[in-house]
Amino acid sequence: MAELEEPRAWIRVTPNAEPLFVELGGQLDIASLPTIEADLDGLLRRDPARVVIDMHDVHFMDSSAVAMLIRLANHFGDVTLERVNPMVRRIVEVLGLSDHLSIGRGSA
């Protein structure tokens, strides 16, 4: 069954980058996000800094992922989403979150 083979969520943090560089990928929903919870908690223990999140490999996300991105933005203060697909852009814009989660120039 194809639905059982859907890629899970993944996260990669590049240490010592300035701004802090985070890559997210997979299908981000309530089923997959708990699998990256420990990495997210680790990220949230870092001091507030400018953060760039590369969303290039995010193939799907829903409001569960929005909650996670807002948590990161609340902690770090300055979060830019780069290389978002048109659907992610639409979600951020329709929810009126563009001020809190800026969408970078490298996005579709």
């Binding site: 194809a2 639905e3 309530i30 089923a31 909650a67 807002i70 659907m87 814009e93 329709v94 809190h100």
Partner: protein, 131 residues
């Protein structure tokens, strides 16, 4: 109309998306992505706030080119739309359903105990894009 039952587990959320996408081959890719997003929201709500497994029914009307998706479960609570501050983490699922569907609503069974949340999408006319 086709329908399928889903267990009240997190894995049912991606499974519900896959089911709806498969059941609506008539939609173009952009509208199908919206259908996947909105059913993901309703399935997540059924998982978090329902009291049972949930059923998803999918229908496509060839006369008016509309897709209809229904999520039904036991549970008396009525979903209410919230207007979270931009720093609030939760409460945006129904906001997405309201913003991106052609229409949506909630129906309670006459004797209570179960409710259906539904949305419809126009196949040929996507809701206006945010600029």
């Amino acid at each position: 109309m086709t329908s399928r039952s889903f267990a009240q587990t997190p894995e049912s959320v991606p499974a519900a998306r896959a089911y709806v996408v498969r059941s609506l081959p008539q939609l173009d890719d952009e509208v199908r992505q919206v259908a996947a997003l909105l059913v993901s929201e309703l399935a997540t709500n059924a998982l978090l706030y329902g009291e049972s497994a949930f059923d998803i029914a999918v229908d496509y009307s060839t006369s008016d080119h509309r897709a209809r998706v229904e999520v039904r479960n036991a549970g008396r609570g009525r979903p209410t739309m919230q207007h979270p501050a931009s720093t609030a983490e939760h409460g945006r699922g129904l906001q997405l359903v309201a913003a991106l569907s052609a229409s949506w609503g909630v129906e309670s069974a006459p004797h209570g105990g179960s409710k259906t949340v539904w949305f419809e999408l126009a196949a040929d006319v996507a809701p206006p894009r945010a600029s």
